[in-house]
Subunit: 211 residues, 2 copies
DNA sequence: CATTATAAATACATTAATGTATTTATAAAT
DNA sequence: ATTTATAAATACATTAATGTATTTATAATG
């Protein structure tokens, strides 16, 4: 079960941290896993929350007012306990003024104020798939602790931007990196690199006075 | 020399009317052809103004704050008296935090607050070309007066959404429309249609009491 | 030309979103 | 375990943008 802190949710949905903050405070989209509880506490959003955030952002980008978007999200929330396949076939149509929801068996108008020409179609399934991809990308950047000669080293794993593999970098040993086609391979390689450094340490680069 | 009223500028740039209004009032992007001068007056924007509006919108969509965008627009305004070819090679790079301007001979940082990864490239030339296309599309919808049997009829010309032609509709004669591959053809055809209607008038559709 | 209808700006208020300093939970270092 | 550093929420203020009623210029009609 994946949970996301505010910063990660911001990265994934391309909403600003402050906007997500504002939306929580105004009871629009709240972190369903763990609510904010004071300075330094941590909100935790579920994948379903991300879907809501992203749908809201998408509608906002199409010029729909926040008040109308609130209604769309309420509809979505009422009709989904979990993003299951049938719900992936929901499609939202909007021209910036009107929001329609198209499902398999009915067409529902969420909010109508002025008649207008429908120009945008937003498929919930596409939002979900796109978010899954984003989550995968973010997941690829994570920290591992590897053990070499009885000692633990902190390394970071991230996606190799030039190919489909993975890169690793050791925090405490400058210049100690590895690459692999899989996570496991990159881990093995970074271990070897760390071991090499233990045999032939390179001169540490001074960071100035701060030691 | 093309001038645009606020509503048209809004359509072309995809900014809201209120946002354009706010930007004028806050002395961000003012209508250079004719300024607002009271209730019911009319702002008139030049094509150059549209370029500024669209650049601002584009940067805004990339997450750049309005204050920083103001600086970019000031730079653009200082360096262009008219959107000429050399200036079309300007490119703005931004990650939402920093704005770079790349020109042929120099790289200039407009605003730097935090280092970040540059991810978006916005070519002024592309903005201009896109706006020209939008202007052409909007221009296609316009009013003409045609003369049939010594009498003038108001008709509207608009783009045919199903093909590359033009459609015309006569305001005062219900059901009187025409289509042509060119504007001239559509005009000839609507004249013929109007003449037919004069010979065989169809029953006018009552509009209720209002006559 | 006069009257009516419509479009556009204005005035004022409200909502939406962001900036910034501060507090405190959480992570990292020792 | 304790201390330090960092991240995240909060408090408060400000900017950005929008809503809505009103005024008046402009367009349309007779």
């Amino acid at each position: 079960m994946l949970n996301f802190k505010t910063k990660t949710a911001s990265k994934i949905t391309r909403l600003s941290i402050r906007q997500i903050d504002y939306w929580d405070r105004t009871h629009f989209i709240k972190p369903s896993v763990h609510e904010a509880s004071g300075y330094g506490s941590m909100r935790l959003y579920s994948f379903n929350d991300l879907v809501q955030l992203k749908l809201a952002k998408t509608l906002l980008d199409k010029g729909v007012s926040l008040q109308k978007i609130r209604k769309a999200i309420i509809y979505l929330r009422k009709n989904m306990s979990e993003v299951k396949k049938p719900l992936l076939e929901i499609r939202f149509l909007t021209d910036g003024e009107t929001i329609f929801v198209l499902t398999k068996n009915q067409k529902k108008i969420i909010d109508t104020l002025k008649s207008g020409q429908l120009v945008f179609s937003i498929a919930l399934g596409e939002i979900v798939e796109n978010l899954k991809g984003e989550v995968l990308t973010i997941q690829r950047e994570r920290r591992y602790d590897v053990e070499v000669k009885g000692k633990k080293y902190s390394v970071i794993l991230y996606a190799d931007t030039d190919s489909d593999g993975y890169r690793m970098k050791c925090f405490s040993i400058h210049g100690c990196t590895s690459r692999g086609d899989s996570v496991e391979e990159a881990i093995e390689k970074i271990k070897e690199e760390i071991a090499k450094h233990l045999y032939y340490p390179k001169p540490a680069i001074s960071k100035g006075g701060k030691q």
